[in-house]
Every structure is written in C-alpha cells, then in structure tokens.
Amino acid sequence: MGLHETGGGAGGKGWHRAGALAREAAVSAITQRLASLLTVAVVASVCVAVLLTAGRADASAHEVLSSLDDSGTRSIIVRAEAGSGLDTGVLDRLRTLGGIEWFGAFGAADDVTNAAVEGGLPVSARLLYEGSIDGSHPLPGGRASRAAARQLGLADGVGAVVSRLSGASVDIDGLVGLSPDLRFLEPLVILPAPPREDPAPPHENPVAVLVVRAESPQVVGAVAAAVTSVLGVNDPTTVTVETSERLAAVRNQVGNQLGDFGRTLVLSTFAGSSGLVAAILFALVMMRRRDFGRRRALGATRSLIVALVLGQVGLTAGAASVFGTGVAVVSLALLRQPLPTPAFTAAVAILAVTTSLVAAVLPAVFASTRDPLRELRVP
C-alpha cells in the first residue's frame, strides 16, 4: 500500500463509525465519573429549577388564560328587540363566515313553571334554533340547566313545564350543561326548535339572542364586524352587539406578559447553566490534556475529538435532562401544583441538551487542538 492509498474509512463505514463514536463517547462518560456527575448535576438542576419556576408559572398562566377564556373572551352576543327582523335566516349567512367556532340562536324568553307545582317559581325558556348544546342537539324534548332545574324543582331535570303565556306543556328530558359564554342566560330551559324536515319560513322564527364564538380571541373584532354585517335587520338600533374584544385584548396582554416573564426566566437560567457546563468541560479538558494529546498522536482527527467531546456531553446532558424533568414533574405533582404542558416540559429538556452542547463546543475545539509534542513529550 502506498502513501496515497491509505485513504478510505468514510462512505459505507459511516454508520459503523457513528456507532463506534457513540460507544466511545458513552464509555468516556462512564469512566470520567466526576465530570459526568457534575454535568448531570448542573443540567438536571437547571431542568428542575426551570420547571419548578418558569414551568409552574407557565402552567399557572395557562390556568389564568383558561379562566379568562371561560369569561367569554371569544364570544359575540347579539340581542335583538322584538320586531327587529333578526330571524333564523341569519344562520345560513353565518355558515359562510370564517373564524367562527360555534354559534347558537335562541328565541324570545317565555316564562315556564313546573307543571306539577302550582304557583311554582318561573324560569325563562327559549327555543334553540341552531347550535349543539353539550352535544345534545337536536333535543327530542326540553332540557333544563342545573340552576333552572333547581329553581323549578325538577329532580334530575326530568318532568314537565307549562308556558305561562300559551299554557302549553312541554316535557323536560334532562339537564343541559351551559358553556361559560352562555351562562348569562341562566337559569334557562331550552325548548326544542321545530323539526328541520318541516321548517317554518325564517321570518316566522324570530331570534332574540344570537351567540357566536370566535375561533380565537385575536379574531373577535373581525368576526364581530362580519356578524354585524350579515344580521339582516331592518333597523340597526333594534339590536345590540356585545363583544369581548376588550377582554380579549386584556387576555392577550396578560398572556404576553406571562410569556415574557417565563421566557426571561428560562433564558437567564439556561445562560447561567451553559456557563457552568462550559467551565466544567474546560476543567475536564485541562485535566485530560495528555489523553487528548495521546489520541491525536495515535491518529484521531480534530473533528473526531470534537465529536467525541460533544457526544459525551450530549449523552450525559440527555440523561440528566430526562432525570431532571422527571424529578420536577413528580415534585410538582406531589406538591399538588399545576403541571406545565408536555410541550413546555419537552422544550425544557431539549433546550437543556442544546445549551449543554453549545457550551461544549469551545472546550471540544480546545481539546482537539492539543499538541502531542507539548502534551506528551517528557522533558
């Protein structure tokens, strides 16, 4: 074999080489216990610290935003006076609009009482023309909200009610759960709309309350404008449109501020940890100068030394991040604190490994440039 024929070793041997490198990195991590333990301690501590602070804050932020959303940050409520001209014809027009998650149209309120209790407390009853309420539409009979059932004295929401206006009796088949943006209608009995096979002309189905839920708080303003434009009323002064636009703006602001706080906390924690990891690795490389010098003398390329150091750090930091996130999640659960989302937890683990690898680049390059003559020669 001549001097120019010694090449090779790449190509088909790539996977074999990667496997050998991973094995060497793992063995290095195991044999250099002190450095590995220090790295594990730093990275795991960072994961625990971030998840117990920023992670918990993120979980709390989600709860705050969720409760804000429960207050109806995405809802648009249209109230129409009698004779306004708002009828079920608006429903087909709403179906053509984008940005809407759900809508429901209710008729005018009619007081009903428990048919079995003479002189019982009245409760508002409304026809529901469109929109599934907790998945139970179309309703074969009437449904009562929990508050309405309590007020009417209907056990488990089952019984019959009588309209004060018409004297007609309607069976109530059970309870219905109202979403947060419909609770302003409480207490409420929902009456079945006429069957769709034989629908009355729209103008015979006047709508008194229309509730539209936008897909996100950010589009509430645009959806409200679109809904207003398709109401089809004769006199705009006979309807009022209430939006949660201001509440949505507050929600966005709160979300951004909580997010900024979390990001700042996470970034500063990881910046500090990467400095610590870099310091540990520099110390490790300084202690192992002869080791790297020997490797270079025996034929290790600079890129291989860099890959070895990064591989060792990657394996150690990976194990540490799994351990650290596990400890943090279990701790939060035991303390009955809100748990960060799986995406946040995974992001912390990935970020921990990434920052460790970035911190390891300079020490790895330093290790790869050890001069065998300087490190190995015995004076």
């Binding site: 010694t6 063995v27 044999t31 020997r294 003398a297 034929g299 291989l304 020669r377 015995v378």
Partner: protein
C-alpha cells in the same frame, strides 16, 4: 504493511526563542531497517520522533514518507497517516487508565474506522503473542511497567505499521521484558517496517542495524 521510508530532510526546529534544536538536519530510516537513535538528554531524540511521526510541523525542511513531503499535508490527512501507517510506542506507555487493557489496544481501530469485531481478534492475537492475554480485562493501574509497555507495543502493532517509532521503550523494563520488546521491533523490521527507536540502552543499540547519534 511494507516498503516505507521515512526521513527528515534539512529539518530545522527549536523551542521558544532559544537556539534551534535542529538546523538543516537530515536523517532517515528505510524499509526493513531497525535504527537506534541515541544522544544525550535534551538533544532532541523525542522531538525528532514526533516530527517523523507527523505530529508536529518543522520550522524548516520537511518530513518525507516514501519521498512525499508528508508534513505539508493537511492536518486530517496527517492524522489519518498516523492511524493507518504509523505505530508509536511512548516512553511511559501512555495507556488510558480508565479503560481495560483490551480497550487500550483497540483504541486506534476507532481512528482507522475499523470494525471492533475484526480488531478484537487481532488484539487478542497480539496480547497472546506478548504474554499478556490474561490481563485483557485488567486496568492499566493493575499492570507492572513491563506489562504496560507490552500493551503499548500491542497497540502500536495493531495496524501492522509501515513505520514504527519508539521513545525509550525499554527504559523502565527488566531484561526479559526488554528482550520481548526488541524481538517485536526486529520482527517488524524483518516484516518490512522502518523501525526507529530513541534509546539510552546500550544493549538495545548494540542489537540495531544502525545508530544515529544526535
């Protein structure tokens, strides 16, 4: 692996700002030759070995391998030549204390991208040949000086080197171990390798084909 000649031509090199250790110095070792490199301490025996081992670039002149100026090659290419073409026995064995003897012998297989399975067979052959196979799973800290140097020799011979360089390989060995080491050098030279041994050992010098004195 046979037929390589390594030589320093017009080598100039010095440490710091002092007087150069070498000024236009030339020497070489041919294929099949066992050459002893002697001289007083501090005259540059180890430095010359590191130059011929392509571990350091000379300040002047060149290192030729089969007539090719190898010192001018890119760093990765020189590393590859060290892994595939050269064997090096260090003065104090320089084994990795955290690894087993077998892993130490196999270390250079990684640098040559050789399969560990194939390399393990040759490693065991070499350990058996030098009488240390039973220590394959031992750590370097559990070895005597003679055993450590034999392990280092096994590591250097793993790639069947065309050029074998050794730095005071018998300095701390008893006569029996020194004989084993010399036997290995002689066998490598008879196999066609160019063997250069830096030594103060008159016995080793007397058994070499030629002596270069610095």
């Amino acid at each position: 692996m046979t037929g390589f000649r390594v030589e320093a031509r017009d080598l100039t090199f010095g440490y710091g700002g002092g007087r150069p250790l070498f000024e236009h110095f030339s020497t070489g070792v041919g294929a099949g030759e066992l050459v002893a490199l002697t001289g007083a301490s501090g005259r540059g025996k180890s430095t010359l070995l590191y130059h011929l081992g392509l571990m350091v670039r000379p300040h002047g002149g060149s290192i030729l391998v089969d007539g090719v100026p190898a010192d001018a090659l890119p760093d990765d290419r020189r590393a590859e030549l060290r892994a595939r073409l050269l064997g090096f026995v260090f003065q104090d064995a320089l084994l990795d204390p955290g690894r087993t003897v077998l892993d130490n012998v196999l270390e250079t297989a990684l640098y040559r991208s050789e399969s560990r399975r194939v390399s393990v067979r040759r490693a065991h052959e070499l350990l058996a040949r030098f009488g240390v196979e039973q220590r394959a799973e031992a750590r370097p800290g559990q070895l005597s000086g003679g055993q450590a140097q034999r392990i280092a020799l096994c590591r250097a011979l793993m790639n069947r080197p065309g050029i074998l360089l050794a730095d005071e390989p018998t300095g701390n060995l008893d006569a029996q171990s020194a004989a084993v080491v010399l036997g290995a050098f002689r066998e490598a030279a008879e196999g066609g390798a160019a063997v250069l041994v830096a030594t103060h050992d008159p016995w080793l010098t007397s058994h070499s084909d030629r002596v270069v004195t610095l």
